[in-house]
Each structure stands twice: as structure tokens, then as C-alpha cells.
Symmetry: C2
Subunit: 457 residues, 2 copies
């Protein structure tokens, strides 16, 4: 990997020296992905002057690797003729994404400048939901007719692949109405006798996507079959485009982020654009963060009520109050560990509803072991500190039982939610922590009360 910082420093030196020729040489020498890293560190002015020194090919490659915000920034400041030329060199799906991030009148200006066929294909892409196969796919696919033989197909590739900037993984065989009939891998093509009919070597049982398939489904299909690309068809099995593995990389990253957000009680479904939660409009961020906090508030008021129920005990032995955070903290943590293990396991497939019983038993044993260990520790410390055997036993015993219960709740809940067809990730955060708080307090105060009654008796 390149050292971006030192390269940026060097580029700034060359800019200061006003040595345009050297700067041009240096910049064009980098891979577009490296340039994207470098450009992210430059100031807007530096970016513009550097961008203007790039060769067209490099510049359009770089645009693909840049984050949306910088794409729009650069296309907005460079010469519009040049911008249109660069856009026309990018893959259709990338162009649809870039233009989709612009204001509508601005994107229309670009679309008007693009070759008609190109712009109408991009326009069609922009009509699909951004998170569906239609919105993700590249509509330019290498298709051949069922009548071709291997030699014809190789010839077609030679002519078309370079011209149309094609993603080349498979060749798709279609009839005159573009209905998808079969697929041939490049490897099969290259290793087959040139006179064979393409229909003799094509695979007819095709794994394919539908234009309306959602991105989580698409990611699952790719992860499962491990293809480089999957064809996308419409309702009538007409080939509309392909989704490639690099599109899926982005989806997987997005889905993981969503899973992680949900797990920590951020309601992603409350905002249209997830990026708003991290960087956009502050009120959108508040909207996504408040719902689960509000549910926690209600839950914790129940906990307050439980504690209030035992106010008599608190008045007699106020010192028991100071151990409340200890119990809640450790119960919450061990419970969170169990939830995390189950939710992630369910998401990767390592844990299934079938194995639920096994995991519940296993986690219970682990909870009991760790709970006992920490119970004894806490009992010893409390006893040694307050010189109060009874208090030590109450706190230690509550700790052991509380941690075991927390493990059990943390393990059970994701399975129950999964069974109810609710996303188990929502269990991880607020709800469980609050439940554990309520139950933990109840256990603790019950023991404390029993202890006080026994003291009096």
C-alpha cells in the first residue's frame, strides 16, 4: 500500500515549484485507486489543478473511485465539455450513481450532452430503486445469439468488448427478444473447439437476479454461489444487465454497517439516507437515534419502579444502593456478549434455529461458570471492604444469578425474534440491556429484603 501522507507532501512541493510537467508525470503514474486516496487529502484548489493534469482515461477511472461528494465537486468545477467526455467513459451504473447524487437540473444538463443511446440507458437505470438489482446493475452486457459458434463469439468479443467498455466475465446467450437462454464462462469459451455451437457449451440452469431484487438478497446470492457476476432479468426473463462482485462489495459493507447500527440502537429505517446519521443533517441523526432511547427510557422507568417498590428496604439499609451499578454493569456486559455472538452467528449462518437449543444450553453453562466466578469475587471484595458478611453474600449471590440470567436472556431473545421473523439485531441494544436491568434489580432487592427480614427475625 502507498504512503498517502508522504505522497501528498511531495505533490504539494511540486505544486509550489510550479513544475507542471513533473506534476503531470507523477500524477499519471499512480493507479486510479491510489489517486483517489491522494485526492481525498488535497484541498479543493489543489484537487482541481491536479485533476486538470490527468489524462482522460486516468481521470475517468479516478472519478469511479472517488466518493460521491468529490465526484460531484470535481464535475461541477471542471469544464463541462470535458466533464461530459469523462462521464461517457465511465460504466453506466457508476454514471447513474454520480448523476443521482446531483441536483436534478444539473444532472439533466449532463444527460443532454451525452450520446443519446448512453443517456437513455442511464436514464432507465435512474428509474430503478437505488437498492434494487436494477439500480445496481450495469446495463451493458455482452450478448450473443443462440446461432453463434465459439469462433463468432470470440470475434464479437474482439469487436465489442473494447468499444463498449464491457465488464467481461461471462457471455450471455439470448434470443432475438433478449430472453436469457444460457451463460458461458470465458474459460469455457477459451478452452472449447472453435467450431462448437455456443448452445452446446452454455449452461442452461442459470442463477439470475430479478430487477426488483433487494440488495441484501443479492449479497446473499453472491456469498452463496461465489460467482463473479450475475445476470439481471425482468419479469419476462429479458436480460437487462449484470451485477458484478465489486458492486456487491459495496453492498456487503453497507449491510454490515446497517447491522452494526441496528445492534447499537440506531434506527436506520427512520432516515432515507443512512449517511445522514454520521455526516448529514443533524435533525435526521436525532430522528434515527431517539426511538430506541425512548424505549430505553420507558424500560428504565420500569426499573425505577422495581427499585421504588423496595424503598422500605433502601431506607433500612441505604448502602445496598451503591452496588446497583455494579450489578447492572456486569449483567449488561455479559448479556451483550451473548447477544452479539447469537446475532452475528445468525447473520453469517454459523448459528441456525435448528442449533438454538445447543447454544442456549452452552451459553447457560458459560453464564453459570463466569457468574459463579464473579459472584465469589464480588462477595469477597464486599465482605473485605464493608466487613459485613451478610451484605457480601447478598451482593455475590445476586451477581452470580444476575449474570447467568443475563446470558440466558441474551441467548434466547435473538432466537425468539428470528422465529417471529423480526431482525434479531434489534435485540442487541436497548431492549435487552433494560430487561436485564429490571430483572437484575428485582433479584438483588429480593435478596436484600429477605436478608433484612431474616436479620429482624
Amino acid at each position: 500500500m502507498i504512503n498517502v501522507e508522504s505522497i501528498v507532501e511531495r505533490i504539494r512541493e511540486i505544486i509550489d515549484d510550479e513544475n507542471t510537467k513533473q506534476l503531470k508525470e507523477v500524477l499519471n503514474g499512480y493507479h486510479a485507486a491510489d489517486l483517489a486516496d491522494i485526492f481525498a487529502e488535497l484541498s479543493s484548489n489543489e484537487r482541481l489543478s491536479c485533476f486538470n493534469l490527468l489524462e482522460d482515461e486516468k481521470a475517468s477511472d479516478l472519478l469511479e473511485y472517488l466518493p460521491a461528494q468529490l465526484q460531484v465537486e470535481l464535475l461541477g468545477v471542471i469544464d463541462q465539455e470535458l466533464a461530459s467526455k469523462l462521464i461517457a467513459k465511465m460504466p453506466h451504473d457508476e454514471v447513474a450513481d454520480v448523476l443521482g447524487d446531483m441536483e436534478e437540473d444539473e444532472s439533466e444538463q449532463y444527460l443532454d450532452k451525452l450520446p443519446h443511446k448512453f443517456s437513455s440507458e442511464v436514464r432507465e437505470l435512474m428509474t430503478y430503486n437505488e437498492e434494487s438489482a436494477g439500480g445496481i446493475m450495469n446495463p451493458v452486457v455482452l450478448t450473443v445469439s443462440a446461432e453463434s459458434d465459439v469462433k463468432d463469439v470470440l470475434e464479437t468479443i474482439r469487436i465489442k468488448a473494447e468499444k463498449d467498455n464491457l465488464d467481461l466475465y461471462y457471455v450471455y446467450v439470448v434470443d432475438k427478444q433478449d430472453h436469457l437462454l444460457g451463460v458461458v464462462s470465458l474459460r469455457k469459451l477459451l478452452t472449447s473447439p472453435v467450431r462448437l455451437k455456443i448452445t452446446e457449451i452454455m449452461i442452461r440452469d442459470i442463477v439470475k437476479l430479478h430487477v426488483d431484487d433487494r440488495q441484501d438478497y443479492i449479497a446473499d446470492e453472491f456469498m452463496k454461489y461465489q460467482f463473479n457476476a450475475l445476470p439481471v432479468v425482468d419479469l419476462y426473463n429479458r436480460l437487462k444487465g449484470i451485477v458484478t462482485w465489486d458492486d456487491v462489495q459495496d453492498i456487503v459493507e453497507e449491510e454490515t454497517t446497517e447491522e452494526i447500527y441496528t445492534s447499537s440502537g440506531i434506527a436506520t429505517e427512520m432516515v432515507e439516507d443512512e449517511d445522514d446519521i454520521l455526516t448529514g443533517n443533524i435533525f435526521h441523526a436525532v430522528k434515527a437515534r431517539t426511538p430506541w432511547l425512548f424505549i430505553t427510557l420507558i424500560g428504565e422507568f420500569i426499573a425505577v419502579n422495581v427499585a421504588n417498590h423496595f424503598n422500605h428496604t433502601l431506607e433500612i439499609l441505604p448502602v445496598i444502593a451503591i452496588f446497583m451499578p455494579l450489578l447492572a454493569g456486569l449483567g449488561g456486559n455479559i448479556g451483550t456478549q451473548s447477544i452479539t455472538l447469537m446475532v452475528r452467528g445468525l447473520s453469517t449462518g454459523q448459528v441456525t434455529l435448528k442449533s438454538a437449543f445447543h447454544h442456549i444450553m452452552r451459553e447457560s453453562v458459560i453464564g453459570l461458570l463466569i457468574g459463579s466466578l464473579f459472584g465469589i469475587l464480588v462477595m469477597a471484595v464486599t465482605w473485605g471492604w464493608h466487613h459485613h458478611v451478610g451484605l457480601g453474600i447478598v451482593v455475590g449471590l445476586s451477581m452470580a444469578i444476575n449474570m447467568t440470567c443475563a446470558t440466558l436472556i441474551g441467548t434466547l431473545t435473538p432466537f425468539v425474534l428470528k422465529k417471529m421473523k423480526v431482525d434479531p439485531a434489534i435485540a442487541s441494544g436497548p431492549v435487552i440491556a433494560t430487561t436485564i436491568d429490571v430483572i437484575g434489580l428485582f433479584i438483588y432487592f429480593s435478596f436484600a429484603t429477605a436478608y433484612i427480614i431474616q436479620l429482624k427475625g
Copy 2:
């Protein structure tokens, strides 16, 4: 996607009917990835009888898709001659993984039965660290000499690709000592005049991996450059193998799991095999889960100490104790949201140290907004419930300040850790929750004490 449950049901019916011919036809009709899902649901006996009905090609494909545990199970029970034959059809890197999961004497038996060249290549793979490029790569690569022209290369592909079960993404150009000189994409190859020298169309600035590169680095390189495959070289730039994008899918999933585990206070570095935490030896699981719980214990004892410091206040106004879980719960939750956003952002690159200040300011505003909202809510509820204005103000004000502080701590800590070159993910769990507990209690009890003093005065 197929409906595994209903297919398994149907297969069981056919097994009961003892209709072997139909069973064979049905099983061989599925894609190997689908079969893997189906096999996971079958019993060991059913698995064995079904496996024996698969065609060799399908059986070795299926082995690739099965989880390690089932691979070893099946290879252990089927005829050893057949097992060796199937293994020889699998890609080298998969074979090294399967054999690596067996006992050594068992894997030696298989290695002895394999063709000599194959087994010695697999043996070499097994010497590399499983998490390095050497351990992940497939050593069988399509190489051509620098003297070839395009036609020669196409001819080489025709002969070699089928025979050696080659992953075909790029063609690598090497000298007589296997030093990597350049790389040509299949697309470039197919669209170039057949008489051109390969050196005229190859790319010389090659992005490559070193055999010792670690898997997180490999994943980053793939995510950045979005290649289908990267060549792996040794210290002397000799080509040793390639890593393909489907290997990287597995790495990314593993790395994400590690990130999520770390975030919830599970110490993955305490165990050799991460799977142990979820399914393996119970004592390994305990070992991974205890360290951060222990640190929480120490932290919460500090919280207990803070509370104990104010025992005088608690004795005068025991009711303040019952609001402790409310404050800790909401502070913990909003803090966790901020940590999650920063840690995930740092991991995907959406957040950088450069943008730290912006995020700290933004999160503070969000914390202040949500904190004020919840402070007012809590004040109103407490006042209405206990008919005690003073208590309402103390609880509400503490809530507002506590939530704002929690947001700030949750945002700051990941940046501080990142700056100190510590994995920010470890911040997410126990440490922060405990810190927030301690600070929250201190704020709350300070207000309560001030209130009591003011009442007396």
C-alpha cells in the same frame, strides 16, 4: 434462492421410497452451493447415502462449499480411494484448508495418495500461516513467458486452463526463474491483435501481494483496487500464487466478525481459533469473555466507590437511589451509539482523524439536543410521579448533562485510541460504559447533595 426445508422434506420422502434412481437425478440437478445448504440439514447417515449418489464433479464441487466440519466428516466415512480422487479435483488452497482441519496422521494418508506434484504443492501451502497471503493463495497460476505473442497465449490457455482447473482472471507474464514481469487481463488479450507480443500489452506496474501479507491488509487492497485477483510473490518477486476475490469474501466476513466481537468486549486474541468462542471448547469461550468483564468489574467498583462517597446523601434522601439505573441506562445507550458510529466510520474510512474535530462538535450538538429533550421528559415524569419539584430538577438536569457527556466521551475515545494506534473497537464495549457510569453517578450525586444542602440552608 431455493427453499431448503421443502427440498429436504422431498429428499427424505424419496429416501423412504428407496427410489435411488430418482434421488440421484434430483441431487445431481442442484447447484453445488444449494447442495451444501441441503446437506447441512440432513443427518449424518442421510448425508453419506446422498453423497455417494453424486457425480464426481458435483461431489468435489460440493466439498468446496461445505463447512470444514462436514468436509472432514464426509471424507472420513466415504471410501478412501474416492476421497483422494475428489480431493485431487479441488483447488489447491481448498485442499490445504480441508487437510489442515484434519488430524495430522489422517491428512498425511490423503497426501500420500495424491499425485506427487499436487501433494507437494499442497504441502507447501500448508507451511504458510493460515491467515497470510501464502496460506490463502492458490498456487496454480496461468503463466506465460515474455517471448509469447497473443496467439501463443490463447493456445496455452486452451491447453492448460481445462487440465489444471485454473482460476482464469488474468494471465501472468514471468521470466525463466518465475519472476513476475507483467499482467494481462483476459479482456485485453481477447481484444488485441493475435500477432502482438505479450510484453506490448501487459501492465508492468503490478499491484501484488507478498506471501507474508496479513489477511486484513489483503482485504483492504482488494476493497481499494477492486481487482478480481491479485498475484502473490515471495521476497525475490517470484510468482507463488494468486488470491481471488472469493477468498477475500471469506476474509471480510471473518474480519467483520472480529470487529463486532471486539466491540462487545469479547477478547478474540485470547483464543487461537475464533470459532471456539461460539461453538468450541467451553473453557476457551470463558477465557475470551472474562478479561473485559474483569476490567468492567474494576471500573464498576470505582462507580460503587463514587456512590459510597455520597452515602450521607443516600441516607438523607434514599429515594435518589432508585433513579440510578435510569441515568446509567440512557447514558450508556447514547454513548454506545456515538462509539458505534465513530468506530464503524473509522473502519470503513468514512471517518478519519482529520475529520475528528468536525465529528466531535457534531456529536456534542446531537448529545445536547437529545440530552435536553430527555432531561425535560424525565424531569416532568419524576415531578408528576413523586410530586417533588426539587427531585425532578435534580434527575432531569443530571440526565441532560449525563447524556451530553456520554456522547462526548463516546465520540472522543475512538479518536484518542486511533491516534495511539490502538484498535478503536475495544473502546466500544466495557471501558466506555463503565466510564460513563462513573461520571454519570458523580454528576447525579453532586446535584443531589447540592440540593440537600440547599434544602437545609
